[in-house]
Amino acid sequence: MSDSDPHITLYRLQACPFCERVVRVLDELDLPYRSRFVEPMHADRNVVKRVSGKRSVPAIVDENTGVKMSESANIVEYLTKTYGDGGVA
């Protein structure tokens, strides 16, 4: 990708509310991210398993910190702690 290559990749499913929750936080924190959409069928999500260890979405990969994680609550907490006011990054 030429567009400044965001450090954060979000694996998401179209219309998945947990994914939208993460998107909202990414937008609030003004973090650029790349969206990779996967299929509704769990079995067809090998790429997500490869990057996060699980087939569930949302999952994020943050090349800035090397963090790979799934579960929206965990991701929101991570993003807020890392990039929110007083965050470490």
Binding site: M1, S2, D3, Y11, R34, S35, R36, F37, V38, E39, D44, N46, V47
Partner: protein, 169 residues
């Protein structure tokens, strides 16, 4: 050959050899996921065969990918398709054929307009898709070879494409 006149498509002012292929960004589908990608970011990785085709499921689409697979173009160049079909349909197509290819989803056919390869489908109100067309691009998006269907249906000149790949890659 058939003993009646095949439907001719209108003249086109498509980009041709020596010109820079118009850049665009659309969801690009591989076997695992899709993400927005620009043509320029793809061609930067190497010579690219850009294949416009009718919607996934139409028999010309099946024939075109079957032939591209059999000729193994993907072994020598990056192969990317473009149609109006959704990423979900592209994923199904990639399960069956178009080995090692990636497929752009262009539902509004604006990319077809940029290349002047639009095809307003008779009998499908409101549906404009891409007429079959093939462009061989170098890393700067310069067109090395161009073929655009002049009849409906018409199939790419595969031997010419193979020769163009041999000449330029």
């Amino acid at each position: 050959m058939v003993d009646f006149e095949v439907v001719s498509l209108p003249e086109t002012d498509h980009p041709t050899v020596g010109e820079i292929a118009p850049d665009f960004t659309r969801p690009l589908v591989n076997e695992e996921y899709w993400e927005d990608a620009s043509l320029s970011s793809i061609v930067a990785d190497g010579p690219t065969l850009l294949v416009f085709h009718p919607m996934d499921g139409a028999f010309p689409t099946t024939y075109i990918w079957k032939e591209i697979d059999e000729r193994g173009f993907a072994a020598d160049v990056q192969v990317v398709g473009v149609s109006i079909s959704s990423p979900y349909e592209h994923k199904e197509l990639l399960k069956e054929r178009a080995a090692d290819a990636r497929l752009f989803s262009d539902p509004t056919a604006e990319v077809a307009a940029a290349y002047d390869v639009e095809h307003d489908l008779d009998g499908m109100a409101g549906v404009t898709e891409h007429r079959p067309a093939v462009f061989l691009l170098d890393e700067e998006r310069t067109i090395q070879y161009a073929w655009v269907a002049g009849e409906w249906p018409e199939f790419p000149a595969y031997d010419e494409i193979a020769a163009a790949i041999d000449d330029h890659v």
